[in-house]
Assembly symmetry: D2
Homo-oligomer: 310 residues x 4
């Protein structure tokens, strides 16, 4: 493994290389709170097994994690339901856009995987598990704080409210799932929890720290908590690798070669098994909805460290 000085230098080099690209891509504009983020920002943070942190750029600036949260609610749902979860959601790439409803009809209400929106709604319903939305939201936020070892992780109420106001496509998916009896809680409650989990506000350092257990068979190596089992960890990583970047997952697997999950807020969490968790953030998105500069930074980072799994 690269030692701390090496990592610091690599991370600094990546940040420097990204500078000419800042502002590339298109910031998500479906809600005002996301649309007004300055696109010329970039952060990167790497947390290794021994707790060392290497970071550069805007690594301390909080951003809306959006779909990156799906990795963590999936962890909670697998812990709760184990194999029973997979009767409700599949584990294969979808070959469709993240909010497509076509496949859902053809496959009778069982979403393709937990990272497309329909699948994430089922996962959220599994986390909610009949509790009140406020409790589930508090559970998720608490889980993130413990993993990030940082009590300042919070949900951005403005973002959550905006998502609720404009989330017709997600409301459509949720009602569709309910029509197939694949949601147990009321549609509005599932959506409330979902929109709040997406509105989690974290910075790169916190996000990398929170994902570290995925690099170590489910064991958080710093606070020695077994977050989930090694087998479930492999499952989550495999789904990140094959489905983590929507309809550009194959491209990410090639360019970066690590399990990863992106969000329309511009964040990406990537896992280097047995080595480290890496979080990058830059708001401009490529056509497939993934951070353009973030993916580029990860590509350079992996080229410099040789951490691709391939």
């Amino acid at each position: 493994m690269a030692d701390k000085e090496d990592l610091d230098a690599i991370v600094a080099q990546v940040a420097a290389e990204m500078r000419p690209h800042l502002g590339e891509g298109k910031v998500a504009d479906y809600i005002p709170a996301l649309a007004r983020v300055d696109p010329r920002q970039f952060g990167i943070a790497v947390v290794t097994s021994d707790g060392a942190v290497a970071s550069a750029g805007d690594a301390e600036t909080p951003f809306s994690v959006q779909s990156v949260s799906k990795v963590f609610t999936l962890t909670l749902a697998i812990n709760r339901l184990d194999e029973a979860l997979w009767t409700r959601v599949g584990r294969e790439p979808s070959g469709s856009r993240f909010n497509s409803i076509v496949q859902l009809e053809q496959e009778k209400g069982v979403p393709r995987n937990p990272f497309i929106n329909a699948g994430a709604l089922v996962v959220t319903d599994a986390v909610l598990a009949g509790a009140r939305p406020a409790e589930a939201i508090a559970d998720i936020a608490g889980f993130m704080r413990r993993l990030a070892l940082d009590e300042t992780v919070a949900i951005d109420a403005e973002v959550a409210a905006s998502e609720q106001d404009t989330g017709f496509r997600n409301a459509s998916l949720a009602n569709f799932l309910r029509a197939f009896d694949n949601l147990n809680s009321p549609v509005e409650e599932v959506l409330e929890v979902y929109f709040n989990q997406c509105a989690l506000s974290m910075n790169c350092r916190q996000l990398a720290r929170a994902g570290l257990f995925l690099a170590h068979g489910g064991l958080d190596p710093l606070n020695r908590i077994q977050v989930t089992s090694p087998e479930r960890t492999r499952r989550i990583n495999a789904i990140m690798m094959t489905c983590g970047h929507y309809d550009a997952s194959g491209e990410f697997a090639y360019r970066v070669g690590l399990p990863g999950k992106s969000g329309v807020g511009g964040g990406i969490l990537a896992i280097a098994p047995r080595r480290a968790a890496i979080a990058v953030w830059s708001p401009g998105l490529c056509e497939a909805g993934n951070s353009l500069v973030g993916a580029l930074a990860l590509r350079r980072f992996v080229a410099l460290t040789g951490w691709s799994v391939f």
Copy 2:
């Protein structure tokens, strides 16, 4: 045209021929109020240009008109928006089930025609036109009463409430349309009006009477009111012919050879241009969701009268 005695005899013969078939098919069971209807009922009523009524069987028993209502809300919407309506909904057969969402995604929120559920929701939104749901519901009910010349036509509140409770698929469609900006009123309001229009309770005689204007170029020949223009009437009849029986419209065109519209309550309204309007009712449905005995009765009626347009 057949004279009154002939029609009486034909209608009586059709009713007699249906007796051995009563109870065939499967009663719609997605809401309790529909599920508990006695399947062994059958009614037929024919209203001719001169106001003569020939009826037989349970022609005076009210039933839930369900999707037959779509013919009348379409009339209201065309009168209101004219050609502008067709930027929001197509006029072609869908080749899909009535509640399919697949095509809606592929065609970016513009439903194939006004008789599949998604299209009917757009039509309802056009009728609602920003008014309050209660007003729109009153308007629709009033329109039906005027056309049926019968003040007893009413909405079955229990049916409307049940539809609302279980209508997740329609809620999914409505949210989907809203996501494509193809609904102007709030989703809940459109659904409220839609579920109420479907819950209209009418008998065969009233329904045939209400549809008579479609057999006469939009002019109600009895009360001499021009309900809609001749051109729009042709449009509505053409859509009934090509799209009126969901994914069995081609079969109905062959077996019956008249423009028609069915509902899952077991009713069918058929139009014999320049001659008469015919309503049949029998609760048992075929696999495509149309009244099995009702379609059979129309087939026989047309064979005996020679009124097929082909």
Copy 3:
């Protein structure tokens, strides 16, 4: 019914009204023989029950009938297989483009209707029925000659050869059907017959004459031959009404209100039940692949005669 002088006048008026539109639309250009047709041509011919012919414009100029031939091979196939045909091909509108393969996969090799390409290939296979292609081609040409009462009807060998050279989409459909065991003859033989039937060269007068039996319950009123049964005639007319213009069938039903079938050569055959058969031709196509001026002419013709079935 309009008398002969009236019809002559109407047909002349329609032709005059079309003059400013000549050249509109886009001539089919996928094979050279079609691409070089002068787009500024228009013909119309009406043949009534008593054998009277009213025609105007280029009604004597032969053109490539293309998909209009499907009406006649369907007649032959129904006569041969009767109801058994419908286990191999459906009778419902497709809601898709004429050469779509998507629905074919979803419905396991049973095409939606006999007028989309896949369905027409199954119909051709039913006509071929294990014979040699040359015999089947001769049978079809002979059938057309008898119906047209004109021995000069022939197949354009250059067109047939060109279709064969470029017909990869049809070859794809045919192989797909064969993979589902829905072709009995070898793929190449079915394609050979299909491309030849499409290459039939006829003029408006011949085409209208050939279609006359469809206006009279299957009985050719001039030579008193029962071409097919009344029931099968209704079936064919119903399919023409709901599926005869590909994905613009609903529009044709409204604008014209008659069963009709179009071809990419620019021809349309329309049936006015109990009255007449009408053929129009003009090479420019609308986006859906139907003769633009031809459809306009039929619309005017029906407006002037009042022959719409609606």
Copy 4:
């Protein structure tokens, strides 16, 4: 890395553990030559960077490699066309069955990835590159012999002929691609080469040996030939990981955690980057078309070696 004795023991243990499972799954039966293979066979061979071979079971029995050949023709095509290949075929999971034509229509003739049949046909066309089929077939066979360091690798002529006789679905795909101008050579020639490459007959030892370059950045570590570049090697491995097992690729990524490619002959080639290439074979297939016992064996092998990339 595990040393040679360890590997021998692990491979022997895996073979022993598979014994109770022999015969599970369903042998491919679409051609006689495949259908009559004894299902109770199992072989495994591992070839490491230093050329050590560990094998067990029927590792010397030749079998039909079928779709595993796609990894090698992809290598040839990338070497020939470089980035230009990706204008003709995508690199994302398809979310559909291996022989689906639906996506191909929606995406206008550009197959989702090189491992579904449509994509493999484009790759074969790129390898053929206008040459005569016999030459291309000889090239492919020669490439496999060089990689396997074994002149006995050959094409099973009976299998190739059978594929040709029954390959209507592939002929449909090829014609479809041609209709979109995405094949340069004649359809029949592309199919001939494709069916022959699928009919390559190899044993586990040969197959693992042939794939070794994929574990070492494109450099065959034994004969020191740079088969392809490191970047292209990462590309191939990424596609194997995300698309190598059709619609069960996500499951394979989880269960095995290595890039892999399966064939309906029952073979699977898996790559342990920087370590070894592994080939397993057992004819019984799971529902998704992958070797059931072969995948189980790889799962156990990875569990015992800890070679999962996750």
